[in-house]
């Protein structure tokens, strides 16, 4: 009897005092850490909002951004009524119209579609190139030297001048081949992607170099897994976090670069609005109509700011050393 009691007590000490917690997945941990970062949450929310704004916006705000309405040109936004009762406004044109009577709300939505599409596409392209180069250089020792030399070479190219050169040079042939808008889209996405993959490649290569010496890769190789399968099954999932962080940085720089090209007048054709183009078109008359500069400028800056905060939060959330602090 006494023996049994003693036995129970020893087991009792080993028993948990509270019920076991449910097992937690990695992504739940990541989300918990991410949601602690207020700026990242707001940034992510705003990015979602702006994406929905440009995607669903045209369905709700059914005004053609290219429709001219000369009678109602140069209208001010309705909020100018707050301080200037005599301003020319129209409630059906909440943000006013430009010098040809095009609705500014509609052009902002259309411009956002172009800017965000270029940003996402260029980011994806640069990630694809960067990850491929990084993984190949990190995994295959023979290719490491030459690929990293090429990366260094690209890093020492003067980027903005070369972007300008490339865009001015290839504009005509691509426009002839894919139409004025499609050709410009391919060209701008292409040049931004080709000139911005280097940081991703370097980071990915570093991670792969460290990972490939670990035991699980050795184990995979010892049971005869092919290099391609090792990369896909064992290495890529482990480098997903640095790739995601550099994706946010890439999206931010791609949006800014596209706007800068449009601003310098080498971007999309003149009747095709993007945020950078709207801004640069409005600069000559910004004294009379400051809102035409401010609205696209604020949209670009807020989008990039939110993407940057999102990246900041992701970096903290995806790093297991910081997580849980």
């Amino acid at each position: 009897m006494t023996d049994q009691n003693a036995e129970l007590e020893t087991f009792g000490a080993l028993k948990d005092k509270e019920p076991q917690k449910e097992p937690r997945s990695q992504w739940k941990d990541v989300w918990d850490q991410f949601s602690k970062h207020k700026g990242a949450l707001i940034g992510g929310g705003f990015l979602l909002f702006i994406t929905l704004f440009v995607l669903i916006g045209p369905l709700i705000w059914q005004v053609d951004p290219k429709a001219l309405d000369i009678r109602n040109k140069d209208l001010r936004p309705v909020y100018t009524l707050l301080w200037d009762g005599e301003a020319k406004t129209l409630w059906s044109r909440p943000f006013g119209t430009d010098n040809l009577g095009r609705d500014i709300m509609a052009t902002l939505i259309a411009g956002g579609q172009a800017s965000l599409a270029v940003g996402w596409a260029a980011m994806v392209l640069s990630l694809l190139i960067g990850t491929t180069v990084g993984v190949t250089a990190g995994y295959f020792k023979r290719l490491d030297g030459i690929l990293m030399r090429i990366t260094d070479l690209f890093l020492s190219l003067p980027i903005l001048p070369l972007l300008l050169v490339a865009v001015t040079l290839f504009r005509q042939p691509l426009r002839a081949a894919f139409g004025p808008e499609g050709g410009m889209f391919i060209l701008i996405v292409g040049v931004i992607g080709i000139t911005s993959w280097m940081p991703t490649a370097r980071i990915v290569r570093g991670e792969i170099l460290a990972l490939k010496e670990r035991e699980f890769v050795l184990a995979a190789r010892s049971i005869g897994t092919t290099p391609f399968l090792i990369i896909r099954r064992h290495l890529l999932p482990n480098v997903i976090s640095p790739i995601m962080v550099s994706a946010t940085l890439g999206l931010a720089t791609a949006i800014i670069t596209e706007s800068a090209l449009s601003f310098l007048g080498v971007g999309f054709p003149s009747d095709f609005p993007t945020w950078g183009k709207l801004l640069s078109d409005a600069v000559p008359r910004m004294e009379e109509f400051p809102e035409r500069v401010m609205l696209p400028g604020i949209l670009i800056s807020l989008t990039v700011l939110s993407v940057n905060y999102l990246g900041d939060g992701l970096r903290d959330a995806l790093d297991p050393r910081i997580r849980g602090r």
Binding site: S156, L157, P161, V165, P173, A260, E287, P290, M294, L305
Partner: protein, 335 residues
């Protein structure tokens, strides 16, 4: 260290040659025709002669070789002639701009001071603002000041110069009328009043560019200070009874400056590259603006020479940054 420097210097020659080939081939694809501005009444055979006079008739490798000779052999001779009054380059063909029909290097040297003044000044101002911000935010991590500093540098990263420039023009020169929106490069500073005018016209472009530099360098400075503040030697210094100011400003700061100096060195080529957007916006006729106008005018020798000068600067300052890192930090050994 010396062997490392020499090895890097030797390695940078093929790199530069390769970059020059890439730029040259890219420009060869240009669809623009330098004869486009010549009147239609000029007969085709005369046009052909003009083309050959510009060196366009020759095969690509001959054109490239001629450019190499002009850039690396004739131009340095011109410089030596200019300094010592010799006549090495007498009668030799220099790199000629198609726009102005004058030597490219002469125009570059004319434009350099404006760029150096505005962009260089903004870099110095940006660094001077960034360092104290970085130091203090790291010292009081997660304080109100640190949060504000993080927010401001996020804004500096996010607002592109073509928007911040337009913004300050609207606020300070249109609404308040404090500063001129156009940078007058012909302005001569000879007394106090003209100095004030110069200061006024420089403030806006300098601040727009400095915001970007500040955002970047203050982040690096903060991260680097944070790395060092938790080190053992800091605890030792405090335990010895050193004053807090000495611990932070001497022990920690000196060690944190090592990576920052290399970051600063890496940013210097961008000064000479000029800020294309800011220069266009404030009508500063510097290098960046020169490149933009040359591009639009199809002035290939100018574009080629300018982009190549930028590439040289980037390669050289990369090398300087690496060597400086090794010199400043005795833990780094390249050999």
């Amino acid at each position: 260290m010396l062997t490392y420097t020499i090895r890097r210097l030797v390695l940078s020659i093929p790199t530069l040659l390769f970059i020059s080939i890439v730029i040259f081939l890219l420009l060869q694809l240009a669809p623009g025709d330098p004869m486009a501005q010549v009147p239609l009444t000029v007969p085709p055979e005369v046009k052909q002669k003009m083309r050959e006079a510009l060196g366009l008739g020759a095969p690509i490798h001959v054109q490239y070789w001629k450019w190499l000779v002009q850039f690396f052999w004739v131009e340095p001779q011109v410089l030596i002639d200019h300094w010592f009054g010799t006549a090495f380059a007498e009668g030799k063909l220099r790199v000629i701009s198609w726009q102005t029909r004058s030597p490219v290097m002469d125009i570059v040297i004319q434009r350099m001071p404006q760029t150096l003044w505005v962009v260089g000044m903004s870099y110095i101002v940006g660094i001077l603002i960034a360092l104290p911000i970085g130091i203090y935010s790291a010292y009081r991590q997660y304080s109100l000041f640190d949060q504000a500093g993080t927010f401001i540098s996020m804004i500096g990263f996010s607002i592109p110069p073509f928007f911040s420039g337009v913004l300050v023009i609207v606020i300070f020169s249109v609404n308040l009328g404090w500063f001129p929106s156009i940078y007058d490069t012909t302005h001569v500073v000879n007394d106090w009043d003209s100095f004030v005018v110069q200061l006024k016209q420089m403030i806006m472009p300098v601040m727009v560019l400095a915001l970007q530099t500040t955002a970047q360098i203050s982040r690096f400075m903060r991260a680097s200070m944070l790395d060092n503040l938790n080190q053992d030697y800091v605890r030792t210094a405090r335990a010895k009874g050193l004053k807090e100011s000495v611990v932070v400003m001497v022990h920690v700061l000196r060690n944190s400056m090592i990576p920052i100096i290399t970051v600063i060195a890496l940013g210097i080529p961008a000064i000479f590259g000029g800020a294309i957007i800011t220069e266009t916006l404030f009508k500063v006729n510097g290098i960046g603006q020169l490149l933009l106008t040359a591009l639009f005018a199809n002035d290939l020798p100018m574009v080629m020479t300018l982009t190549f000068i930028f590439a040289i600067l980037i390669v050289v300052f990369n090398l300087i940054a690496d060597v400086l890192y090794g010199v400043l930090d005795p833990r780094i050994r390249y050999d």
